[in-house]
Structures are given as structure tokens and as C-alpha cells.
Amino acid sequence: MIDALNRAARKVPTWAVFVLGLLPIPYLFYRAATGGLGVEPITALEREMGLWTLQLIIAGLCITPLRRFAGVNLIKFRRTLGVLSFVYVVVHLGIWVGLDMSLRWGQMWADILKRPYITIGMVAFVLMIPLAVTSNNLSIRKMGGAAWRKMHKAVYAIALLGAAHFIMVQKVWEAEPLIYLAVILGLLALRARPLQKTSGVRAGG
């Protein structure tokens, strides 16, 4: 069955996953504009885009454990998921800047400096930029596989910062963001020991 899954995955082009992954964006904007996200569509849309970002990062973190522990090889989609998560975080940030804050730059700058959850979110976003920029074959060739993989381990920090951002946006301790954090910690823990034993031979990130 796993072989069949791997054979099927080989046939799916990455661009198809990418295009499919973009579809929720116009759909959510349409829902927001037509009342489907409630009477405060901007906050709702901002939240949806943030959730998609985090979910796509988590999906990307699942790829290596899936291969290692289940033999499912979806490695060719890993960069696609990463670039998709970047698109969503750009939309998330764009909604904050353009719709939520209405381009009040002074207030935004003060928020980035003063409000820890915004600071953390912004750090995570900035860390994602070099990863998105180098998510192409040319960059891997230029940098060399080892250096590229090392750099892209920054996604571990990004995932944790993203979860912290989500937890801190809430006024009280909520279950949902804590579940996201737990899932991310679990996925990172799966990498910790096996990596040392195999001393980097299969260090796919």
C-alpha cells in the first residue's frame, strides 16, 4: 500500500500541489467579502491566513518523519509546502498592514517593537524570507546540499515562534494554540535522537 502511495505521489507534479494549495486564499477572501466570516471579516481573515501558515509549516515538518517511520516518500513536496506557507504568511501580514491597521505605519512600528506577540511574529516572518528565496534547484546547487539543509533547519525555530505567536495572541490560555505547540514539539522530538544515531547520513531535516 505504501508502495502504491509512493508511486502515486511520484506522478503528482509539485506545481499541481502548489496551485491547489493557493485556492483557499481567493475562497476565504470571497467569504470575507460576502459575510461568510461574520461581522468582523478582517480579523477573521487575518486569523485564517495565520492558521494556514502554521498548518503548512507543520505539514512540511511531517515529511521527514513520514519517510523515516512510515516509508512514505513525499520529499519532493516539502519545498512546495514551505513556499506555500510563505505565501500565506505574506497574505497574513498584508491583511494586518493594509486592512487591519489601515497603513498606520507609526502605530505598526510601535506595535512591532512593544508588543511581544507581534515582535515574535515579525521575527518568524523575517526568518522565513531567506528560506523562501532559496527554495529552488539553483540555490541548492549554488549553496551545496549540506549548507542548504543546515540553513533550512531554521524552520524549526520558525515553527516554534509561530506557535508562540498564536498562543500569545489569546487573552487567556486556549486549548487550540497549545495543541499546535504540542504537535510541533512532537515533530521536533521525532528528529532529535535518530539524527544523532545516524550521524547525519539521512539528515533530511
Binding site: V39, R115, E174
Partner: protein
């Protein structure tokens, strides 16, 4: 009473029901059609006439943590709360203490229309056409005693119908309080309805406080206890996080909140392309400023 606050807006200024029922659809259509410019919120809120939010907006976007922390949770869950019969206990430094049936407590109060701005500490706002009576009138009837300096309120706790209480998202019962002179101010309202209809449960039925110059969490909902006291009473959000939520919690664009800048606010109901508007000192009710004369509002936040 001579000091009575007079509304510059009358019942006639309230959006006709047919209109407010349709406004959402109109706005939705405009947003979808990309006619963003037409939905701009009033920038100079103080001089522009207040346009009340629709009943749908007021009833679907709520904070009432007893019923859940999501904005839609109260509308979804609060219907199960039984508000008739309803009892309110009055105690503390008061001449007429007791446990009153709601009608015995407030049946003789004069219900007025009050169109107030409502500003949440989360930096969003609405305009609500309340029906209610002045808290000062009720206090006159209850007779605060000499030593009474503060008034404390408590919200109902009914775990069977309140999922947020079962999950203990806050330290319930929800409690709030005012200084007695704040409570006696003619702007301070006890609301029993809005748009001429009884309060929906998610809006704090059957009896809630409305203090329009303070952040919304001060305006405690579904009140079951009123206590007159000589000490500043504890308040729920202050107990949870004193750095973020003070006892006074006056709307103040100049005092920064650790979590949200309070300089501006998003007006609910403007749709996807509405812009922020500047937040006004005391939420646009400068007549309350004398209450705080001589106080440093960045310390007493």
C-alpha cells in the same frame, strides 16, 4: 432630575428596522463589488452623528467568556440560559438589602433610549442603541449608606449552560466594580434592551451595566448581585492580569496597553475595506473628565 444626561440623538435617529436588516446585505454587496470607498467609517466620530450597528452585528460579535472565548460562542451558546425568573441580590452598605425578583427591583425605573459608543479593549468598537435606566436612579432607591464608596457587581454562574465556566477559562463568577461617583454619573446605564427589544442573552440579559467611557469588559452582563462597599472591589480581568487591566479602564488613546495599542479602533460592520478610526479620550464622553480630576490616568489606568 436637573443633572440628567440628554441624548442629542432621538429614537428617530435609530436606523429603521427595515434598513438595519438590509444594511449588511448592502455592505456585503458593495464590498464584493469593490466599492470600497463608500464604506469609510466616520473619522471625526465626535461630530458625526452616530450610526448604530445592526442588531445582527450587536448580537453576533460578543465577548461573554462564560459561554466561550470565540466571538461567535455567546450567540451560539447563551440561548440556553434561563432569564425568567431572575433574582438580584443587593447587599453591603445599603439601606434596602435583599434578594429581589427582577421586576421588584427595576419595574418602576424609567426606560430611556441611549445611543452610545461601545469600545472594547481589543480595539474594536460598535454603536449600540440601548434601552435602560440610570444606575443612579436605582441607587437612590436602594439607599447607599454613608460609608459606601464603591459598587460591585457579579454575573450569574450557571455551569450547566455555560461551557466557558465548565472549562474555567476565567476565575468565575465574573465580577466588576465602579467608584460610587462613577456609578452615579448620569451616563452610567443599566440596560434591559436594545433597539426596543429585550436584550439577547449574549448581550447580557436580563440586566447589564453600560459604562460608555470605559472599555467594554467593565460593562458587566447578566447581573445577579449588587454590593455597596467601602473598599475597591476586585475585578475579574484585573485579577487575571493586573498589568494589562486596571480598575478604572477608562478608554484612553494615550495610555498604552501592553497587548493592544489603544490609539485607534476598528469599527465593526464596515466590511472588509473599512479603515481604522482614531480612538477618542473617554470614548468621546469628555463630560466624565471631572470624575478623574487630579488623578494620573497613566497610573490609575
Amino acid at each position: 432630575m436637573a443633572h440628567r444626561w440628554t441624548n442629542t440623538l432621538t429614537r428617530n435617529d435609530i436606523t429603521p428596522k427595515a434598513l438595519w436588516l438590509n444594511r449588511r446585505a448592502v455592505l456585503g454587496g458593495m464590498a464584493a463589488g469593490g466599492l470600497a470607498g463608500g464604506i469609510a467609517a466616520p473619522a471625526a466620530a465626535q461630530s458625526a452623528p452616530l450610526e448604530p450597528n445592526t442588531l445582527e452585528e450587536i448580537r453576533s460579535y460578543n465577548n461573554f467568556y462564560e459561554f466561550g472565548t470565540g466571538k461567535g460562542d455567546p450567540a451560539e451558546n447563551a440561548g440556553a440560559m434561563q432569564t425568567d425568573p431572575w433574582q438580584v441580590t443587593v447587599d453591603g452598605l445599603v439601606d434596602n438589602p435583599g434578594t429581589y425578583a427582577l421586576d421588584d427591583l427595576i419595574g418602576d425605573m424609567t426606560i430611556e433610549d441611549r445611543i452610545y459608543r461601545f469600545r472594547c479593549v481589543e480595539a474594536w468598537s460598535m454603536v449600540v442603541p440601548w434601552n435602560g435606566f440610570e444606575l443612579g436612579d436605582l441607587l437612590q432607591k436602594l439607599g447607599p449608606q454613608e460609608g459606601a464608596k464603591f459598587i460591585a457587581f457579579e454575573t450569574a454562574v450557571i455551569p450547566e449552560v455555560m461551557p466557558g465556566v465548565r472549562r474555567r477559562v476565567l476565575d468565575f463568577p465574573y465580577v466588576e466594580g465602579l467608584r460610587l461617583d462613577e456609578a452615579m454619573h448620569p451616563l452610567t446605564l443599566m440596560a434591559t434592551g436594545l433597539y426596543g427589544e429585550p436584550l439577547a442573552n449574549q448581550n447580557g440579559a436580563p440586566l447589564r451595566l453600560v459604562v460608555p467611557w470605559k472599555y467594554g469588559f467593565k460593562s458587566i452582563k447578566s447581573i445577579v448581585r449588587i454590593t455597596l462597599t467601602d473598599e475597591m472591589p476586585p475585578t475579574t480581568w484585573n485579577r487575571l492580569n493586573a498589568r494589562e487591566y486596571g480598575f478604572y479602564s477608562n478608554v484612553n488613546p494615550n495610555v498604552d496597553h501592553p497587548r493592544w495599542s489603544q490609539a485607534s479602533e476598528r469599527v465593526i460592520g464596515g466590511g472588509l475595506f473599512s479603515s481604522r478610526q482614531d480612538t477618542l479620550m473617554f470614548n468621546g464622553y469628555p463630560e466624565v473628565a471631572p470624575l478623574y480630576e487630579g488623578m494620573d490616568l497613566s497610573v490609575a489606568y
